[in-house]
Protein backbone atom coordinates (compact mmCIF):
# COMPACT_ATOMS: atom_id res chain seq x y z
CA UNK A 1 0.00 0.00 0.00
CA UNK A 2 1.34 3.42 -0.91
CA UNK A 3 -0.59 5.64 1.43
CA UNK A 4 0.10 4.08 4.85
CA UNK A 5 1.55 7.30 6.31
CA UNK A 6 -1.45 9.30 5.15
CA UNK A 7 -3.96 6.74 6.44
CA UNK A 8 -2.25 6.24 9.82
CA UNK A 9 -1.76 10.00 10.15
CA UNK A 10 -5.46 10.51 9.44
CA UNK A 11 -6.41 7.90 12.05
CA UNK A 12 -4.31 9.79 14.63
CA UNK A 13 -5.91 13.11 13.63
CA UNK A 14 -9.36 11.51 13.93
CA UNK A 15 -8.45 10.02 17.34
CA UNK A 16 -7.07 13.34 18.63
CA UNK A 17 -10.40 14.95 17.67
CA UNK A 18 -12.53 12.07 18.97
CA UNK A 19 -11.03 11.80 22.48
CA UNK A 20 -12.37 15.21 23.68
CA UNK A 21 -15.69 14.27 22.02
CA UNK A 22 -15.98 10.93 23.84
CA UNK A 23 -14.79 12.23 27.23
CA UNK A 24 -16.42 15.65 27.33
CA UNK A 25 -18.74 15.95 24.30
CA UNK A 26 -16.42 18.73 23.14
CA UNK A 27 -16.75 19.30 19.41
CA UNK A 28 -13.87 21.49 18.27
CA UNK A 29 -11.36 21.83 15.49
CA UNK A 30 -8.02 23.55 15.78
CA UNK A 31 -9.27 27.06 14.96
CA UNK A 32 -11.97 26.61 17.59
CA UNK A 33 -9.37 25.63 20.18
CA UNK A 34 -7.21 28.58 19.06
CA UNK A 35 -10.09 31.01 19.62
CA UNK A 36 -10.92 29.48 23.02
CA UNK A 37 -7.24 29.64 23.99
CA UNK A 38 -7.37 33.43 23.60
CA UNK A 39 -9.63 33.41 26.68
CA UNK A 40 -7.66 31.17 29.03
CA UNK A 41 -9.68 32.33 32.05
CA UNK A 42 -12.69 30.23 31.06
CA UNK A 43 -12.89 26.45 31.57
CA UNK A 44 -13.03 25.78 27.82
CA UNK A 45 -10.15 28.19 27.33
CA UNK A 46 -7.91 26.36 29.77
CA UNK A 47 -8.60 23.02 28.07
CA UNK A 48 -7.86 24.61 24.70
CA UNK A 49 -4.51 25.97 25.90
CA UNK A 50 -3.54 22.48 27.10
CA UNK A 51 -4.61 20.95 23.76
CA UNK A 52 -2.54 23.48 21.79
CA UNK A 53 0.39 22.80 24.11
CA UNK A 54 0.04 19.14 23.11
CA UNK A 55 0.24 20.16 19.45
CA UNK A 56 3.52 22.01 20.05
CA UNK A 57 4.83 19.06 22.09
CA UNK A 58 4.04 16.74 19.17
CA UNK A 59 6.30 18.89 16.99
CA UNK A 60 9.08 18.64 19.57
CA UNK A 61 8.58 14.85 19.79
CA UNK A 62 8.68 14.67 16.00
CA UNK A 63 12.06 16.41 16.08
CA UNK A 64 13.26 14.30 19.02
CA UNK A 65 12.69 11.13 17.02
CA UNK A 66 14.99 12.53 14.38
CA UNK A 67 12.23 13.50 11.99
CA UNK A 68 12.71 16.81 10.28
CA UNK A 69 10.50 18.56 7.83
CA UNK A 70 10.19 16.39 4.74
CA UNK A 71 11.42 19.24 2.60
CA UNK A 72 12.65 22.62 3.84
CA UNK A 73 12.14 24.03 0.35
CA UNK A 74 9.01 25.80 1.55
CA UNK A 75 11.33 28.75 2.08
CA UNK A 76 11.12 29.11 -1.69
CA UNK A 77 7.64 30.46 -1.12
CA UNK A 78 8.39 34.21 -0.81
CA UNK A 79 7.98 35.61 2.72
CA UNK A 80 5.34 38.25 1.99
CA UNK A 81 2.31 35.96 1.60
CA UNK A 82 2.87 34.21 4.95
CA UNK A 83 1.34 36.85 7.26
CA UNK A 84 -1.38 37.58 4.68
CA UNK A 85 -2.19 33.87 4.44
CA UNK A 86 -2.16 33.51 8.22
CA UNK A 87 -4.59 36.38 8.68
CA UNK A 88 -6.99 35.06 6.01
CA UNK A 89 -6.82 31.54 7.47
CA UNK A 90 -7.55 32.73 11.02
CA UNK A 91 -10.27 35.22 10.10
CA UNK A 92 -11.94 32.99 7.50
CA UNK A 93 -11.92 29.88 9.66
CA UNK A 94 -13.68 31.63 12.54
CA UNK A 95 -16.13 33.47 10.25
CA UNK A 96 -17.21 30.15 8.73
CA UNK A 97 -17.01 28.36 12.09
CA UNK A 98 -14.24 25.89 11.32
CA UNK A 99 -11.06 25.00 9.47
CA UNK A 100 -9.75 21.84 7.86
CA UNK A 101 -10.27 19.97 11.13
CA UNK A 102 -13.45 21.67 12.39
CA UNK A 103 -15.44 21.42 9.16
CA UNK A 104 -13.34 18.69 7.56
CA UNK A 105 -12.84 16.07 10.29
CA UNK A 106 -15.48 16.92 12.92
CA UNK A 107 -18.09 18.33 10.52
CA UNK A 108 -17.92 15.59 7.90
CA UNK A 109 -17.63 13.00 10.69
CA UNK A 110 -20.97 14.25 12.03
CA UNK A 111 -22.40 14.25 8.49
CA UNK A 112 -23.12 17.99 8.78
CA UNK A 113 -24.42 19.47 5.49
CA UNK A 114 -23.08 22.93 6.46
CA UNK A 115 -19.59 21.53 6.91
CA UNK A 116 -19.79 19.66 3.60
CA UNK A 117 -20.57 22.96 1.87
CA UNK A 118 -17.73 24.70 3.74
CA UNK A 119 -15.22 21.96 2.79
CA UNK A 120 -16.24 22.08 -0.89
CA UNK A 121 -15.95 25.89 -0.90
CA UNK A 122 -12.57 26.16 0.84
CA UNK A 123 -11.02 23.28 -1.09
CA UNK A 124 -12.17 24.67 -4.46
CA UNK A 125 -11.01 28.19 -3.56
CA UNK A 126 -7.63 26.87 -2.33
CA UNK A 127 -7.21 24.92 -5.59
CA UNK A 128 -8.13 27.97 -7.68
CA UNK A 129 -5.72 30.13 -5.61
CA UNK A 130 -2.93 27.60 -6.19
CA UNK A 131 -3.72 27.56 -9.91
CA UNK A 132 -3.64 31.37 -10.18
CA UNK A 133 -0.35 31.51 -8.22
CA UNK A 134 1.28 28.89 -10.46
CA UNK A 135 0.13 30.73 -13.57
CA UNK A 136 1.62 33.94 -12.21
CA UNK A 137 4.98 32.73 -10.90
Amino acid sequence: MHFQHEILGGVLIGAGSAIPLLFEARIAGISGYAESAMRPGSKQGRNAVVFLLGLVLSGLLWRLFGQTLPDPQHNLIPPYPWPIAGFLVGFGARLSGGCTSGHGVCGLGRASPRSLVAVIVFMSVAMITTFILSAWL
Binding site: A25, W82, T100, G109
Partner: protein, 138 residues
Protein backbone atom coordinates in the same frame (compact mmCIF):
# COMPACT_ATOMS: atom_id res chain seq x y z
CA UNK B 1 -7.18 14.04 34.48
CA UNK B 2 -8.84 16.59 32.24
CA UNK B 3 -5.48 18.17 31.44
CA UNK B 4 -4.07 14.77 30.51
CA UNK B 5 -6.99 14.11 28.14
CA UNK B 6 -6.49 17.41 26.29
CA UNK B 7 -2.69 17.21 26.30
CA UNK B 8 -2.73 13.65 24.91
CA UNK B 9 -5.35 14.60 22.32
CA UNK B 10 -3.16 17.46 21.15
CA UNK B 11 -0.06 15.26 20.96
CA UNK B 12 -1.88 12.49 19.05
CA UNK B 13 -3.48 15.02 16.68
CA UNK B 14 -0.13 16.73 16.04
CA UNK B 15 1.73 13.48 15.42
CA UNK B 16 -0.97 12.65 12.89
CA UNK B 17 -0.40 15.98 11.14
CA UNK B 18 3.35 15.34 11.06
CA UNK B 19 3.16 11.70 9.95
CA UNK B 20 0.59 12.37 7.24
CA UNK B 21 2.62 15.22 5.73
CA UNK B 22 0.05 17.93 6.48
CA UNK B 23 2.84 19.98 8.12
CA UNK B 24 4.73 20.06 4.82
CA UNK B 25 3.45 23.06 2.82
CA UNK B 26 4.91 21.73 -0.42
CA UNK B 27 3.00 18.45 -0.05
CA UNK B 28 -0.20 20.38 0.63
CA UNK B 29 0.46 22.63 -2.37
CA UNK B 30 1.03 19.45 -4.41
CA UNK B 31 -2.43 18.26 -3.32
CA UNK B 32 -4.05 21.59 -4.20
CA UNK B 33 -2.35 21.84 -7.62
CA UNK B 34 -5.02 19.75 -9.35
CA UNK B 35 -4.30 21.12 -12.82
CA UNK B 36 -0.62 20.13 -12.90
CA UNK B 37 0.83 16.75 -13.91
CA UNK B 38 2.60 16.68 -10.52
CA UNK B 39 -0.76 16.59 -8.72
CA UNK B 40 -0.47 14.42 -5.59
CA UNK B 41 -3.89 13.30 -4.33
CA UNK B 42 -2.43 11.36 -1.35
CA UNK B 43 -3.71 13.84 1.27
CA UNK B 44 -7.31 12.93 0.54
CA UNK B 45 -6.59 9.68 2.44
CA UNK B 46 -5.70 11.75 5.51
CA UNK B 47 -9.11 13.44 5.53
CA UNK B 48 -10.83 10.16 4.65
CA UNK B 49 -9.39 8.10 7.49
CA UNK B 50 -9.75 10.92 10.03
CA UNK B 51 -13.43 11.32 9.11
CA UNK B 52 -14.03 7.57 9.47
CA UNK B 53 -12.50 7.51 12.98
CA UNK B 54 -14.48 10.59 14.05
CA UNK B 55 -17.69 9.19 12.51
CA UNK B 56 -17.35 5.99 14.58
CA UNK B 57 -16.74 7.99 17.77
CA UNK B 58 -19.73 10.20 17.01
CA UNK B 59 -22.04 7.23 16.45
CA UNK B 60 -20.82 5.73 19.73
CA UNK B 61 -21.64 8.97 21.52
CA UNK B 62 -25.04 9.19 19.83
CA UNK B 63 -25.78 5.69 21.04
CA UNK B 64 -24.68 6.46 24.63
CA UNK B 65 -26.32 9.96 24.46
CA UNK B 66 -23.79 11.26 27.02
CA UNK B 67 -20.03 11.62 27.09
CA UNK B 68 -17.93 9.83 29.71
CA UNK B 69 -18.13 12.86 32.03
CA UNK B 70 -21.92 13.01 31.62
CA UNK B 71 -22.17 15.92 29.18
CA UNK B 72 -25.09 15.60 26.75
CA UNK B 73 -24.22 15.50 23.05
CA UNK B 74 -24.99 18.69 21.17
CA UNK B 75 -25.36 18.74 17.45
CA UNK B 76 -24.66 22.19 16.02
CA UNK B 77 -25.27 21.14 12.40
CA UNK B 78 -28.94 22.10 12.23
CA UNK B 79 -28.33 25.83 11.65
CA UNK B 80 -29.14 26.98 8.13
CA UNK B 81 -26.47 27.90 5.59
CA UNK B 82 -25.33 31.46 6.03
CA UNK B 83 -23.41 34.02 4.03
CA UNK B 84 -20.84 34.00 6.86
CA UNK B 85 -20.19 30.30 6.31
CA UNK B 86 -19.69 30.71 2.55
CA UNK B 87 -17.65 33.91 2.77
CA UNK B 88 -15.54 32.60 5.67
CA UNK B 89 -14.79 29.34 3.87
CA UNK B 90 -13.77 31.26 0.72
CA UNK B 91 -11.45 33.57 2.72
CA UNK B 92 -9.96 30.55 4.50
CA UNK B 93 -9.45 28.84 1.12
CA UNK B 94 -7.48 31.80 -0.27
CA UNK B 95 -5.16 31.77 2.77
CA UNK B 96 -4.74 27.98 2.67
CA UNK B 97 -4.03 28.07 -1.06
CA UNK B 98 -1.45 30.87 -0.72
CA UNK B 99 1.05 28.88 1.36
CA UNK B 100 -0.52 25.46 1.94
CA UNK B 101 -0.80 25.76 5.71
CA UNK B 102 -3.89 25.52 7.91
CA UNK B 103 -4.15 26.19 11.68
CA UNK B 104 -3.04 22.80 13.09
CA UNK B 105 0.23 22.53 11.15
CA UNK B 106 0.99 26.19 11.90
CA UNK B 107 0.88 25.45 15.64
CA UNK B 108 2.87 22.18 15.37
CA UNK B 109 5.52 24.20 13.52
CA UNK B 110 6.24 26.27 16.64
CA UNK B 111 8.60 23.41 17.49
CA UNK B 112 10.62 24.05 14.33
CA UNK B 113 11.12 27.79 14.98
CA UNK B 114 10.71 28.83 11.36
CA UNK B 115 10.39 32.56 10.65
CA UNK B 116 7.73 32.21 7.93
CA UNK B 117 5.57 30.00 10.12
CA UNK B 118 5.95 32.43 13.03
CA UNK B 119 4.66 35.27 10.81
CA UNK B 120 1.76 33.06 9.71
CA UNK B 121 0.89 32.12 13.29
CA UNK B 122 0.90 35.65 14.71
CA UNK B 123 -1.27 36.87 11.81
CA UNK B 124 -3.59 33.87 12.24
CA UNK B 125 -4.26 34.70 15.89
CA UNK B 126 -4.80 38.35 14.88
CA UNK B 127 -7.39 37.20 12.32
CA UNK B 128 -9.12 34.99 14.88
CA UNK B 129 -9.22 37.83 17.41
CA UNK B 130 -10.48 40.37 14.87
CA UNK B 131 -13.34 38.07 13.93
CA UNK B 132 -14.18 37.62 17.61
CA UNK B 133 -14.31 41.39 18.15
CA UNK B 134 -16.20 42.61 15.08
CA UNK B 135 -19.87 42.97 15.95
CA UNK B 136 -21.22 41.81 12.59
CA UNK B 137 -19.17 38.59 12.38
CA UNK B 138 -20.90 36.93 15.34
Amino acid sequence: MKNIIYLLSGIIFGLGLALSGMIDPLKVKGFLAVTTPAWNPALIFVLGSAVVVYFIAFQLLRFRKKSLNGEPLQNPSTRPLSIKLLLGAAIFGIGWGLVGICPGPAIVHMAFLDKNFALFLVAMFAGIELNARLPFTR
